[in-house]
Every structure is written in structure tokens, then in C-alpha cells.
């Protein structure tokens, strides 16, 4: 009887996600232009990827992206959340403002940064340049494009982590904090020995999610640079998207999608391992 209650959710989910995902995995071993009949080619798509400079660049960029997002926003979020705990007054207000960028559409955030900050004509960069300190547009330089995009995503993202860490910090037992305070712990000691260990499960989960999300990043890259200039900011998801819809190399796109998923799968496996270990202890 109750089994029927699951049918709508599962039906939609299987039709939209599971079946197409299974097809994608099959397509990764085929050559297909999206219209004709797929031709089985074995591992040719993957072999082609291994020889493709752009694929390696995209993968490298995903790794750099992961490294940035594992450190900078998590550190910012933790620090700000702890400071909100110290400040107490006004923490509700700070929390709302820090969270605000999360509710703005990525397309809009991207355009505001592009036009109002990075642009050499209409942006802050242009203003500084005209004042005599030349600032190149980071999005148009091969050496900085990826970091230019990362800054925009950071601005949009860190407040979310801050709010999550703040919520977790408030669950740290009052007695532990009191005890440390009576012992005369400094701010850093409090952070290092009481607060951080107290919210370790939350930090671990957020780091795992960060790794998974870093391999999915799409919107900001696609809108700001489309992976350019000269593929310098290409990531796996934009590579897959362009291969499928611009080059009609759906087999190659599917192979890239499978690679992305493998990273997610590996990360999830590590997380389950960690959880199991924690459970044993």
C-alpha cells in the first residue's frame, strides 16, 4: 500500500536521471552525432580523451578549482562563523547579508562582476587603470581567467559555508567553552582545541561536498569565459557541454561525463569509508 506513495518520485527520477544516465554510460563507448544510429567504438572515446590536450587542461583546472575551494571559502567561512560567535550581537544580521549572494541567479552575479568590476571599459578595473594603475581584465588573460572566475564563485559561495559552520558552532556544548575560558584559553586556542574539533563532522562533510561540487562547476565558467581564452579556463563540465551541443560529438561528451562521475563516486566512497571508521571508534 505505502509502496504506491513512492511511485511518483521514483518514476520521475528514473525517467529523467537513471535511464538517461545509463544511456550516457553506453554512449561513452559509441560514436554518435545526436541524430543517426550510435556506432559502437569500444574505448576509442576514452583513448581520444587521454591524447587530448584540452581534456587534460580541463581536468587540471578542476583540480586547481578543488584546491581553491577546499581552502579559501572554508577558511573564510570558519573564521567568519567563529567571529560571529564571539561578536554575538548582530550575528543574525551578518548571517543574512553573507548569505545574500546565494539567492542571486548565477547568470546575474556573473554579469555584474564581468561588466561592473572586471571590465576595462565599464568596470572598477577600468577605473583603476584610468587612475594610472593598469589592471588587465583577468577573464581575457590565459594565465588568470580561471582565477578570475573562481573569485566570482567564491564571492557567491563562502557565505553559505559560513552560515552552515555558524549553525554547527552553536551546537558545541556550552560547558566545553566555559571550561576553556576559565582555563584562560586565547581566541586561537579556543578555535584550535575546542571549536574546530567540536564541528569536525560538519567540516568533513562540507569538504567532501566541495570536492564533488568542484567537479560539477559549470555556470560561472560557461557564462564568463565559455572555457576560454584558448581553453585556459576549460573545466570538464564545459568541455562535455560544448562537445555535445557545439561539436555534436555526443560519444566524447558522454565519456567526459563518465569521468566526472567517477571522481564523484570515488569521493563518495572515501566519505563512506571515513564515516564507517568514525562509527567503529
Amino acid at each position: 500500500m505505502h509502496r504506491l506513495y513512492l511511485i511518483p518520485t521514483l518514476l520521475i527520477n528514473v525517467a529523467i536521471i537513471f535511464i538517461p544516465a545509463a544511456l550516457t554510460i553506453a554512449l561513452a563507448f559509441c560514436r554518435w552525432d545526436g541524430m543517426g544510429i550510435p556506432v559502437f567504438v569500444g574505448l576509442a572515446n576514452f583513448r581520444q580523451l587521454l591524447a587530448d590536450r584540452v581534456f587534460w587542461m580541463a581536468l587540471g583546472n578542476n583540480v586547481i578549482w578543488t584546491a581553491i575551494f577546499l581552502t579559501v571559502p572554508i577558511a573564510m567561512g570558519l573564521l567568519a562563523a567563529t567571529m560571529m560567535l564571539v561578536a554575538r550581537r548582530g550575528s543574525a544580521f551578518f548571517q543574512v547579508i553573507y548569505f545574500l549572494p546565494m539567492v542571486i541567479a548565477t547568470a546575474i552575479t556573473a554579469r555584474v562582476w564581468q561588466g561592473m568590476i572586471y571590465s576595462p571599459l565599464t568596470g572598477i578595473a577600468g577605473l583603476i587603470t584610468r587612475a594610472g594603475f593598469p589592471v588587465p581584465n583577468p577573464l581575457t588573460q590565459t594565465s588568470t581567467a580561471l582565477y578570475g572566475i573562481a573569485v566570482v564563485d567564491l564571492w557567491h559561495w563562502w557565505g553559505f559555508l559560513c552560515v552552515i559552520f555558524f549553525a554547527a558552532l552553536r551546537q558545541v556544548p556550552q560547558e566545553q567553552i566555559e571550561a576553556a575560558r576559565i582555563e584562560g584559553a586565547s581566541f586561537w586556542q579556543m578555535l584550535r582545541y575546542v571549536l574546530l574539533p567540536g564541528i569536525r563532522p560538519t567540516i568533513t562533510l562540507m569538504m567532501i561536498m566541495t570536492i564533488i561540487w568542484s567537479f560539477l562547476v559549470f555556470d560561472f565558467v560557461y557564462i564568463l569565459t565559455q572555457g576560454g581564452p584558448a581553453f585556459s579556463s576549460e573545466v570538464l563540465s564545459t568541455l562535455a557541454y560544448r562537445s555535445a551541443f557545439y561539436d555534436l560529438a555526443v560519444g566524447k561528451a558522454a565519456a567526459v561525463a563518465v569521468v566526472i562521475s567517477l571522481f564523484g563516486l570515488a569521493t563518495t566512497a572515501v566519505y563512506i569509508r571515513l564515516q564507517a571508521k568514525e562509527f567503529d571508534q
Binding site: 527520477n13 529523467i16 550516457t24 555556470d219
Partner: protein, 277 residues
């Protein structure tokens, strides 16, 4: 709670928090400020106060981005997705919270697994399949995709609300002769309605803001969503940044007002859904 006594620590803390506040608000301030300026003044300085208030930026943005049509599309898409996610999600969440079926673990694991799958893993066959079925440029079809993507999140969040309802309530209703369906619809749903409202708000926000699926599946000019039509406006049709920022403000303003008014629900829903998961 008092963490630290020293006065300097307090001053430093507030200074740092204020700096972060400025960093967060600065791009938003630029958005609002420049939406009122003529393009020529933006070129001189994006920071300057408007010499003349160009309210007609908004009129031109509204017309060029065809917001009359595209906002309606976005609203319809969001409404359809909300209805689908809340109705199907609450059914599933109820069963999973009460462990009413033996395979609840497998179903939970499956739903969680789909949240970590990249959209590209199912996007391509879905697109070409929909194209064959004539479902491109179909708002309902896109709302089905959103439902598939967002319902795991909704199920996990709603599950926590169902868990909080005491079992005795259900049992009492069953003893009084209510059917299972009546227990769900007449007893459980009203109690978890705050949770459903939270889910509705967040799903509404996500589908209003969504870009990748919308830009792929809704391409005809009269089917675009507001965000995609903003994207096209700012990419091709104009380099008048006053107009572009005005268009951005038109899309963002209702979201920000709603967010400020219902901040607790938004923050608890968005942050809680991904932590408790």
C-alpha cells in the same frame, strides 16, 4: 555565550565582520547604482552617483528582455515545479520517515546518489530524447527535469519534519477508522505544512534562478525564462550596461525582498537540507 573578554578582540572581530560585509554588498551596490545611470556615465566611472536618474533603463530592459513573456514563463515553470516537488516529495518523505517499506534504505541511498550525479551524466540523452518526442521548448517537460533534480533535496528536508510528528497521532487516527490515505492527507500534511512551505520557497528560488537546463531546453524566444533572456540580452543585443543592470535588478529584486522577509526559512532550508541530508 561569552567566548572572549578582551576589548581589542571585540573591536578586531567587528572590524573583520564589517569588511566581509562590505565585500559582500559592494557588487550588489554596483548593480543597483548603475541600473539608474546612462551608459555614458558608467563608462566614466561605475562608482559615481547618477547625475540623472535614468528610470527609462528599466522600461528598455523590460521591453528588450521581453520580461512580459519571459517572467511569466519563469513564474509558470517555478509554480509547476513547486507543485510537482511538494506533492510527490511529501508522499515519499512520509514513507521514508516512517520506514513503512522494507526497501527504505535502498530508496534513500538511491535518491542521495542522484544528488551527487553531474547534470552532464544525463543531459545529453535526455536532450536528444526530448527532441525526438517534441518536448523541447515545453515548460512542463522542463519542470519534470527540475522535479527529478530537486526532489531528493525536498524529500530529505521534509523527512525531518515527518520524523518530528509523534507516532501516536497516526495510530490514534487509524484506530478511529481513518484510512492510510486519510492519515497522510488529513493528519500528517497539515502538521508538516511549515516544512512544505519552506521547500516550496527554496524550490521556487532554484527554478527561478536555474540556468543550464533552462538555456538548453527552452530556446524559442517566446519560451525563454527571465534569467536566460537576461543572459542573451547582456551577451548580444546591447552593451548598454545601465540597461543590463536594470534588467538584472528586475529579476533580483523580488527574490531579495522575499529572502529578507522570510530569511529564517530560506537559510534553515538551504543550509539545513544539505547538512542533515
Amino acid at each position: 555565550m561569552r567566548l572572549i573578554e578582551s576589548r581589542t578582540t571585540f573591536v578586531l572581530t567587528y572590524t573583520a565582520l564589517a569588511i566581509l560585509l562590505l565585500i559582500t554588498l559592494f557588487p550588489i551596490a554596483l548593480l543597483v547604482l548603475n541600473s539608474l545611470k546612462p551608459a555614458t556615465q558608467i563608462v566614466q566611472s561605475p562608482l559615481a552617483w547618477p547625475e540623472v536618474y535614468r528610470w527609462d533603463n528599466f522600461v528598455r530592459a523590460w521591453n528588450d528582455a521581453r520580461f512580459g513573456t519571459t517572467m511569466l514563463n519563469s513564474a509558470m515553470l517555478a509554480a509547476l515545479t513547486i507543485v510537482l516537488v511538494c506533492s510527490t516529495g511529501s508522499l515519499t518523505a512520509y514513507v521514508l520517515a516512517r520506514r513503512k517499506i522494507k526497501s527504505w534504505k535502498i530508496v534513500t541511498f538511491y535518491l542521495l546518489a542522484t544528488t551527487t550525479a553531474p547534470i552532464q551524466l544525463f543531459l545529453f540523452p535526455l536532450y536528444f530524447g526530448f527532441a525526438k518526442l517534441g518536448l523541447i521548448n515545453n515548460v512542463f517537460a522542463v519542470s519534470l527535469i527540475y522535479t527529478a533534480i530537486y526532489s531528493p533535496f525536498a524529500v530529505m528536508l521534509l523527512r525531518t519534519y515527518f520524523l518530528a510528528v509523534p507516532k501516536e497521532l497516526e495510530e490514534a487516527a487509524l484506530i478511529d477508522g481513518a484510512t492510510h490515505w486519510q492519515v497522510f492527507s488529513k493528519v500528517m500534511l497539515p502538521i508538516v505544512s511549515p516544512g512544505i512551505l519552506t521547500v516550496a520557497l527554496i524550490i521556487g528560488l532554484y527554478s527561478w534562478n536555474e540556468f543550464l537546463i533552462a538555456t538548453t531546453f527552452l530556446q524559442r524566444t517566446d519560451r525563454l525564462t527571465a534569467v536566460v533572456s537576461f543572459f542573451l540580452l547582456s551577451g548580444q543585443y546591447t552593451s548598454d550596461w545601465g540597461e543590463i543592470m536594470a534588467a538584472a535588478l528586475i529579476i533580483v529584486l523580488p527574490v531579495i525582498v522575499l529572502f529578507i522577509a522570510l530569511q529564517r526559512r530560506f537559510i534553515e532550508g538551504m543550509a539545513g537540507g544539505s547538512v542533515k541530508g
